[in-house]
């Protein structure tokens, strides 16, 4: 038997929330960050090849506490969209992120990630310079970084390109943000051979904050207010500020090696399977 088909209202609910996550007027990480971090100073370059404009990061103070922040720029019109490759980072961006996170570890600064990307850039140059390797390195390195890290998906969290900034102690999502293993359009065109069925795929993939909280993947949903983040940006940003303050305070009370151990266990627990009783082994 096929899985229960999702009814129309359900599928459209997930799809509608995704449209909010992608809304051009929605505050982008580059708008949110200066409101949270005072005296933010951007640090450029991966010290190896170049500077990716899409991923940006630097130092500043969150309510008086020095922090390192790494975030993703998204365009608002055609020109800025092209400039930031529609929010799709290049390998240099991920390598810059790693450099800044290591620096944060050295100076015992907490790290804040603000994520809004459809995914890593699928281009010729991106492949040539090892986008796979850059993402893999971040997964490998971040799990052992000895400083507290908080990741917030503010808009779209697209696949490996988002995950590479998400190996953190707390993963939060704005209420109408989306996090997905593949874009619903991509999923529909691969599995259903019809990209117009993306709304159904959006519902099936479980990409909204409520579904992901229920699955235990994210730790916290940050409310946006009833009108949506793009209508009431201040409400969402205040909620985000409060959430970050609470999470940072909670993390500051834990010895760093315990934080690293808890981070490992957090990811260790993820995933679902069962065992075949007939084939069980010690």
């Amino acid at each position: 038997m096929a899985a229960t088909p999702l009814n129309n209202t359900d599928s459209h609910r997930a799809w509608n929330r995704l449209q909010l996550a992608r809304h051009p007027e929605r505050p982008k990480p580059q708008d949110i960050l200066p409101q949270l971090v005072e005296g933010f100073l951007e640090m450029h370059g991966d010290r190896a090849y170049g500077d990716d404009a899409t991923i940006f990061g630097g130092v500043g103070a969150f309510q008086g506490l020095p922090v390192t922040s790494v975030a993703i720029r998204r365009g608002k019109d055609l020109q800025t969209n092209l400039q930031y490759r529609f929010g799709m980072p290049q390998p240099e961006g991920y390598r810059k992120a790693l450099r800044l996170v290591r620096q944060a570890e050295k100076f015992h600064r907490p790290v804040l990630f603000l994520i809004d990307t459809p995914g890593a850039y699928p281009g010729l140059d991106s492949e040539e310079r090892g986008i796979s390797s850059a993402i893999a390195e971040n997964l490998y390195e971040f799990i052992g970084i000895q400083t507290p890290m908080i990741a917030v998906v503010t808009g779209e969290g697209g696949s490996g390109g988002a995950l590479a900034l998400m190996v953190a102690d707390r993963i939060c999502m704005m209420e109408n943000a989306a996090l997905s293993v593949i874009s619903p359009e991509g999923c529909a065109s691969i599995l259903l051979k019809d990209s117009s069925q993306a709304p159904q795929a959006a519902a099936s993939l479980g990409i909204d904050s409520d579904a992901l909280f229920a699955l235990g993947i994210i730790d916290r949903i940050i409310p946006e207010g009833t009108e949506g983040f793009h209508v009431q940006p201040n409400l969402g940003i205040e909620a985000l500020r409060l959430a970050l303050r609470e999470e940072l305070e909670a993390l500051r009370g834990i010895p760093i090696l315990e934080i690293v151990e808890q981070r490992y266990q957090k990811f260790r627990k993820m995933g679902r399977w069962t065992t075949d009783p007939q084939k069980s082994q010690p």
């Binding site: 038997m1 096929a2 899985a3 229960t4 999702l6 890593a120 850039y121 699928p122 281009g123 010729l124 991106s126 492949e127 040539e128 310079r129 090892g130 986008i131 796979s132 390797s133 993402i135 893999a136 390195e137 997964l139 490998y140 799990i143 052992g144 696949s159 490996g160 995950l163 590479a164 998400m166 190996v167 996090l179 997905s180 293993v181 593949i182 999923c187 691969i190 599995l191 159904q200 099936s204 993939l205 479980g206 990409i207 992901l212 699955l215 993947i217 490992y264 990811f267 260790r268 993820m270 995933g271 679902r272 399977w273 069962t274 065992t275 075949d276 009783p277 084939k279 069980s280 082994q281």
Partner: protein
């Protein structure tokens, strides 16, 4: 022949299309090489480890073929074979597909086990492209994580034969997180000073390429394998131009600096054995002296050399 058929034959005999008598051959007596189009006798191909004798094209091997090719005879002991996939999102048609695939393939998208290569014990994982493109879901993620954890506890090297389309769509973000989970286990394994060899075969793409495939201490690849993050079709759609010849093939990825070496299939076993020897100081196996003499000699040489220091 029955009467009605006889009448029919007499009446319509000439009009009835002649059905040519079918020659029944075993299904896969001959295969065509997808690269040079040569028609190859199946047994001849098998004798060449499924490498085309005409052009060197490496055919895709089954999990059992990989185990037979690389590991010592009868040394394979499966691990975590009792793990079964579930359908956490009630994704349309996923439960049906799983049922069918588990019946056909017996094991999920990766098979893990204990084995030996030229006498050296290690833990091995081989991915199965027939199981939803070898995609990384909850079972594969858990098996690989346990494999690295066990190898850390037993202080053994790990070899993964990688081929996968990436993270499994039908398990949503739970699949995506398997990339982080396996990478985390590799980190702990690596911190314990142990050796992980990744062997990338056709095709290694998506989330698998962007996690454990690229985290080997040593990353080897088969010739001509597709290795990349985004699929060629997606890239062509993004940049709206034709991709250069050989783009994302092993040779290209090596040239760009992301592989240690490309090893033809017939040299793999000896290359792996040599690499393992260079990383392991273990007691020579008591029972088998044949075939491991070079390894015993080698260890003897290393010990002597160490004594001189």
């Amino acid at each position: 022949m029955r009467l009605p058929q006889l009448i029919q034959k007499l009446l319509l005999g000439k009009k009835k299309p002649q059905v040519p008598r079918e020659i029944t051959l075993p299904d896969n007596l001959f295969v065509q090489c997808p690269q040079c189009k040569a028609t190859l006798y199946r047994r001849r191909l098998s004798a060449h480890a499924d490498v085309c004798p005409e052009c060197g094209h490496h055919f895709v091997l089954s999990v059992a073929q990989w185990i037979a090719l690389l590991t010592d005879r009868k040394s394979w002991r499966p691990l975590f074979a009792d793990l079964r996939p579930v359908d956490p999102l009630s994704f349309p048609h996923y439960a049906d597909k799983l049922k069918l695939l588990m019946a056909n393939e017996k094991e999920e998208s990766v098979s893990t086990g204990h084995c030996r290569i030229q006498g050296i014990p290690l833990l091995v994982g081989v991915m199965n492209p027939n199981f939803l493109m070898g995609s990384l879901g909850g079972v594969a993620g858990e098996k690989l994580t346990r494999l690295f954890e066990l190898a850390t506890a037993e202080r053994k090297p790990v070899l993964l034969v990688v081929r996968s389309g990436g993270a499994r769509m039908q398990e949503g973000v739970l699949s995506l997180m398997q990339m982080a989970k396996v990478s985390a286990a590799i980190r702990r394994f690596s911190d314990a000073g142990l050796l992980y060899i990744a062997l990338l075969t056709h095709p290694t793409t998506g989330g698998v390429s962007a996690s454990f495939a690229m985290l080997g201490d040593i990353i080897l690849a088969e010739p001509g394998a597709l290795i990349g993050f985004a699929g060629p079709r997606v890239i062509e759609q993004t940049i709206r131009q034709k991709l250069p010849e050989g783009f994302q093939k092993s040779e290209f990825v090596l040239e760009k600096g992301f592989l240690d070496a490309i090893v033809p299939r017939h040299e793999l076993r000896s290359t792996l054995a040599h690499l393992l020897e260079l990383h392991t100081f273990h007691a020579p196996p008591e029972s088998s002296s044949k075939g491991t003499s070079s390894q015993v000699n080698f260890i003897h040489r290393v010990k002597k050399w160490l004594q001189r220091l």
